[in-house]
Amino acid sequence: MPDLGTADAEIRIVEWLVEVGQSVARGEALLTAETDKAAIEIESVASGILQEVRVEAGDEVAAGEVIAVVKGEGGTEISTESATEPGPDTAVEAEVPEPQIAPAPAQPSGPKPSRKGMFARNREARARRPAGGRRHAGLRDNQRAVAKRLTRSHREIVPFDMVCRIEMTAAARQLEILETELQRRVGYNPFFISAIAGIARDIPCFLSYQLGDEVGTHEQANVGFVVGFDRALYIPVVHDADGKVPIDIGREVSRLALKAARGRLSVEECSGACVVVSDLSGYPIQSFNAVIPPGSSAAVAIGGVEEVPIVKDGTVAVVPAVQVTLTVDHRVVNGRNAAMLLTRLIESMEAL
């Protein structure tokens, strides 16, 4: 892979333009790659049959890696137009049976002193660099979209936070039943989605949104949930979640999360959320604020489940609980409505 990007950037292969087994000529476009700048067609440096593709379309690769092998047409004289007798040095290209695309820097033939190639030097420098050093990387499509939406959220939305604590004794019991039934782990998302959808239906400002100067209302109580991966972030949406029971929502959550992991979510499956839920209850964190995606009215951030002492009927008891942070777009939701949503959410979750 030629060095197409700025230093250290990963290059994503978008498409192979030649199929394995087909022949390719030197100078013919072999693949399209995407750098942090743009998509670019890359020409083959050798003529022959494309024998092997080592990096699939969609994957990322560093400059200097071998990405494909082109098998030269054995014995065929490549430099047919050359008037001079090819000396031992110039014939190297024709003699090598399997020239590799972007191999380790070609060593000069003959006894000339060899120098370490640029890529080898870069690789060594990277290996020497202490861990934790900064790495620049190109953006994938998803990251670019996420970055755009986050920036828009930051620029437009006026966030307003409110925190409450919810006892999870009942929810924990229900989760066990639900996960046994579904035979897979889904976390607390289905319960929160179900509860929030019902509450949003009753407090209509949570169905509204403001995008720039445009104010609108969602027809249905759609609730999104955040699914994060190392290099991608998705918010699939359970549409019309009001009226669906947690077990059905659980199935949908599980299906959508799987599609997200494969990067196969459709635009529709990620659109139309009124409120989004971000569940980090499995981690030992107390609380956090979630970012409201443009087009939604609020985000509900669920902190880690911890054992806490609470006063119940005049005595101290130790119960599992979470801190929930509600962030609302203050342009469409006021403090009283936010407090109402949390009050109802506590009631619903503790009475599961």
């Binding site: 030629p2 100078g27 700048k37 670019i40 020409e43 137009e81 110039t90 070609a106 890529f119």
Partner: protein
């Protein structure tokens, strides 16, 4: 036709020089794609007639300044493929002893100080060299290559203003390839021709078909004579087109398909080769033979360049001023 006014040897030499630049740039492209060539490179495929047309009208001791896209200018001015290629590989025996790289190739003994990669940066420098030539009462001229993008730099205005008020022997050569990196020239100026700007400085300006090597040669010959007669400066605008990305990392998406194809049909080497074959004393076979020679020459130069050792630590402070 015009070609008949010149002798065969001269015309064939022009063709060979353009082909040498094309072959050189194409091979360097593959070296870059293979990963054996470090850095990025700015190539000039499609603009060969500008470099060769101008330099063929100059004397050996005339001086030129070049840009971040200097390979063609250097080859046209008489640098060898070897000394440039070694420089590109960072070898210690390159034309800048491995310290300049692609964007600074040059050889002062051959009338080309290391190329100036800063856009428009060569304009005041060429003006200064022309001032020196004039003060020393020497007959040479300075020629300054720059692109259309440079004409909106302050250095363009400042340099040409000085060149004009001091009547300096300098030819300002704008290779108008329509794009400053990715910005189209008509987005940065309302003037249909950059040569018209000459009027603002009280100097002569001329727009030339930049893909016609003989037209460029003629225009430069006249401009050079004018400069030597003390009637400089002159602003030449060579209309041409870059048949490659701004740099090797540029996918060129801003060049419309039809425009690229139209200019590809006006490829200076293609057009001139066809015109040469109209003569009684040139045949296609002659041109094919030249192509083979050029290919072998570049291939040989690459083999030489690959083996050259890099500068050592001991060379760190030599050849540098600061």
């Amino acid at each position: 036709m015009k070609e008949t006014e010149y002798d065969r040897e001269f015309l064939v030499d022009l063709y060979e020089r353009m082909l040498l630049i094309r072959e050189f740039e194409e091979e360097v492209k593959f070296l870059f794609l293979e990963g054996t060539m470090p850095g990025t490179i700015h190539q000039c495929q499609g603009q060969e007639a500008a470099a060769v047309g101008v330099c063929s009208a100059l004397e050996e001791d005339d001086v030129i300044t070049s840009t971040h896209r200097p390979h063609g200018h250097a080859l046209a001015k008489g640098l060898t493929p070897e000394e440039i290629l070694i420089e590109l590989f960072g070898g210690g025996t390159g034309c800048c002893r491995g310290k300049g790289g692609s964007m600074h190739v040059g050889n002062i003994d051959k009338g080309m100080p290391p190329a100036i990669a800063i856009v428009g940066g060569g304009i005041p420098l060429a003006t200064g060299m022309a001032l020196a030539l004039k003060m020393q009462k020497r007959p040479q001229v300075a020629v300054c290559f720059f692109g259309d993008g440079a004409t909106s730099e302050g250095a363009f205005h400042e340099g040409i203003t000085l060149g004009a008020i001091w009547d300096l022997p300098v030819i300002y050569v704008c290779e108008n390839n329509l794009y400053g990196a990715s910005t189209r020239v008509d987005e940065i100026t309302r003037m249909p021709h950059i040569a018209e700007r000459a009027a603002a400085y009280g100097i002569r300006g001329e727009t030339v078909e930049g893909n016609d090597v003989l037209a460029v040669h003629e225009a430069t010959r006249i401009a050079a004579r004018q400069c030597r007669d003390g009637e400089g400066p002159v602003l030449l605008e060579l209309e041409t087109y870059r048949l490659t990305g701004h740099s090797r990392r540029d996918a060129c998406h801003y060049q419309p398909e039809e425009e690229r194809e139209a200019w590809a049909r006006r490829d200076p080497i293609l057009v001139f080769g066809r015109a040469l074959c109209q003569r009684d004393d040139v045949e296609q076979a002659d041109l094919d033979r030249i192509r083979c020679d050029v290919e072998a020459r570049v291939a040989g130069a690459i083999e030489t360049a690959r083996g050259e050792p890099a500068p050592t630590l001991a060379d760190l402070t030599t050849d540098v001023y600061a």
